[in-house]
């Protein structure tokens, strides 16, 4: 299915997309090798409540796309709208989970989770309650007053996820959040993330370089290819929800991963 069809079907369904990206370009000027075309003609609609995964080899601009959406990187041309408003910087509607947990070592787990709500001057008692709920949700009850260095990598990343959710954003951006974790922890975290997504009813855009992860988590998988970074295809994943780890072994799952891998086998990149 081509991209134009996707956009059309989203419009036809009547749902106002939460995010609308059209003809987005990003060019990095460099002083020795000329301009680097990081993103070229990106068109993408994201429906509210959906789980979108972006997969591609390194250098395909997927992290650049995420930083632009997070409002911390300016784009060169094109339009980005979030909830009907033109993107012009960071937004309170967003929560971001980074590749590394990026915790502040002088703050306790609870204080780290509360950082965005502090920045946005939200109600302290209410936010504290919410932070405690979130920490409970990710299995970190009892760790509220520990410092980051006392936690394992997986636990730190879960604190990062709580922090991204504390101010109740409608749109969650995740940049290879589980890339640094071992395979076992990663599977557990995937399941936990799906559970959180279900309970919080947020919209998620998750960037990954793992094809199985992209298929397992997403309603749709955006396949990107490098130099210049562009969308090669958008694939609907019709696996039933809730997803279970058994699905990794189903035939349908294999079909999806093969279909995506097909885009990269020719270039020999990814995995």
């Amino acid at each position: 299915m081509s991209m134009e069809d996707k956009t059309l079907s989203a419009a036809a369904s009547g749902a106002q997309p939460l995010v609308r990206i059209s003809h987005l370009e990003k060019i990095y000027p460099t002083h020795d090798q000329g301009d680097v075309h990081a993103l070229s003609d990106i068109n993408l609609d994201i429906e509210p409540g959906s789980f979108l995964t972006v997969v591609g080899p390194s250098g395909c601009g997927k992290s650049t796309l995420l930083k632009i959406l997070a409002g911390i990187l300016a784009h060169t041309s094109g339009e980005v709208e979030i909830a009907g408003k033109r993107l012009d910087g960071p937004s309170r509607e967003l929560g971001v989970v980074f590749q590394a947990p990026v915790l502040l070592p002088w703050r306790t787990v609870l204080q780290n989770v509360l950082a965005p709500s502090e920045v946005q001057k939200l109600d302290k008692t209410k936010m504290r309650e919410r932070a405690m709920e979130l920490l409970d949700l990710v299995g970190l009850k009892g760790f509220e007053h520990k410092y980051p260095r006392e936690l394992s990598g997986g636990m730190q990343q879960r604190v990062g996820i709580c922090r991204a959710l504390v101010h109740e954003p409608s749109f969650l951006l995740m940049d290879e959040p589980f890339g640094a974790l071992d395979a076992m922890t990663r599977e557990t975290m995937n399941l936990e993330l799906l559970r959180i997504w279900r309970e919080q009813k947020a919209t998620v855009l998750l960037v990954t370089h793992s094809i199985p992860e992209a298929v397992f988590l997403g309603d749709r998988v955006v396949v990107m290819s490098p130099r210049p970074g562009r969308i090669a295809d958008i694939i609907d994943i019709d696996l039933p929800r809730p997803r279970t780890l058994d699905m990794f072994n189903t035939e349908a799952f294999g079909r999806y991963t093969r279909a995506i891998r097909h885009y990269f086998s020719s270039t020999g990149e990814l995995d």
């Binding site: 997070a70 960071p90 971001v96 990026v102 502040l104 965005p116 920045v119």
Partner: protein, 268 residues
């Protein structure tokens, strides 16, 4: 202190007595050498004479007004110098414009030997305690300033971006990320500053004063009271070590989270 691997066999090198023993033997050698070679005590005093002079100075209360004056100069100079260093460091560290405009002059000022400026300061601020505080502040502000500037730039980019994505203002980013990340550096500067502050106060007193340990050194030197001068040196060393320890204690409270601080203080 480094932890020993399991199965490590203790040797004489692990004894906590080595360092004190070294001190005692050096003092003993010094004492014996002076008697054996009949060194006149106006050149090098024997340790016993230094100890007697130190003891007498303490019990008679001779040191008290001088120590109080010098300590006050050191502390007041250190605090005002550090405040100027931190404030100026924050301004320069956050603004490339101010760095371009101000920093060359700050460096040029630092390049001027403060000992050479001291006589001017004494003329401007008088023989009293004020001129010593100014000299001490001038000497102690630079290490604090330089470390504050470097520290403010040490904030990891990902921490800054994390807060920015949560709609943080520049001021919030400064308060929540840049300043905490600068603290380990600022404390390195404060630790250097407190030591050089003692130098500043003594230099100021050498140039012109009526009270203070530097003044007392000059007076005793003039009277060829070498044991008396050495006794004051011991007091000055004690002041330096004491103030340094204070900085380290405050630093430990503030930087419990920092990995670098344990390495910094490994000497203690």
């Amino acid at each position: 202190m480094r932890r020993k691997p399991p199965g490590y066999v203790r040797t004489w090198k692990d004894s906590p007595l080595i360092s004190p023993l070294l001190f005692v033997s050096l003092i003993a050698i010094w004492e014996i050498a002076i008697h054996v070679f009949e060194v006149p005590s106006i050149i090098v005093p024997p340790p016993s004479a230094v100890a007697v002079s130190l003891w007498e100075g303490i019990v008679t209360g001779v040191f008290l007004p001088h120590t109080a004056a010098t300590l006050w100069e050191v502390v007041a100079g250190f605090i005002s110098g550090s405040i100027v260093g931190i404030v100026l460091g924050i301004m320069i560290g956050l603004s490339p414009f101010l760095e371009r405009v101000l920093y060359p002059y700050v460096v040029a000022f630092q390049a001027m030997p403060k000992v050479a400026i001291a006589p001017i300061i004494v003329i401007w601020f008088g023989y009293g305690i004020e001129s010593k505080i100014v000299i001490t502040a001038m000497i102690s502000f630079f290490p604090v300033l330089a470390n504050t500037i470097v520290g403010l730039r040490a904030a990891p980019q990902d921490q800054v971006e994390m807060l920015r994505s949560a709609t943080a203002s520049d001021w919030q980013i400064f308060r929540m990320v840049r300043l905490p990340n600068a603290l380990p550096y600022i404390f390195v500067g404060l630790d250097v500053a407190i030591i050089v502050s003692v130098i500043g106060a003594i230099v100021g007193e050498f140039v012109g004063s009526r009270v203070g340990l530097g003044y007392l050194i000059m007076q005793r030197n003039f009277n060829f009271d070498m044991a008396g001068v050495f006794a004051i040196l011991i007091i000055l060393a004690a002041i330096g070590v004491g103030l340094h320890s204070l900085v380290v204690i405050v630093q430990r409270r503030f930087l419990f989270w920092s990995e670098t601080q344990s390495a910094l203080n490994s000497g203690n």
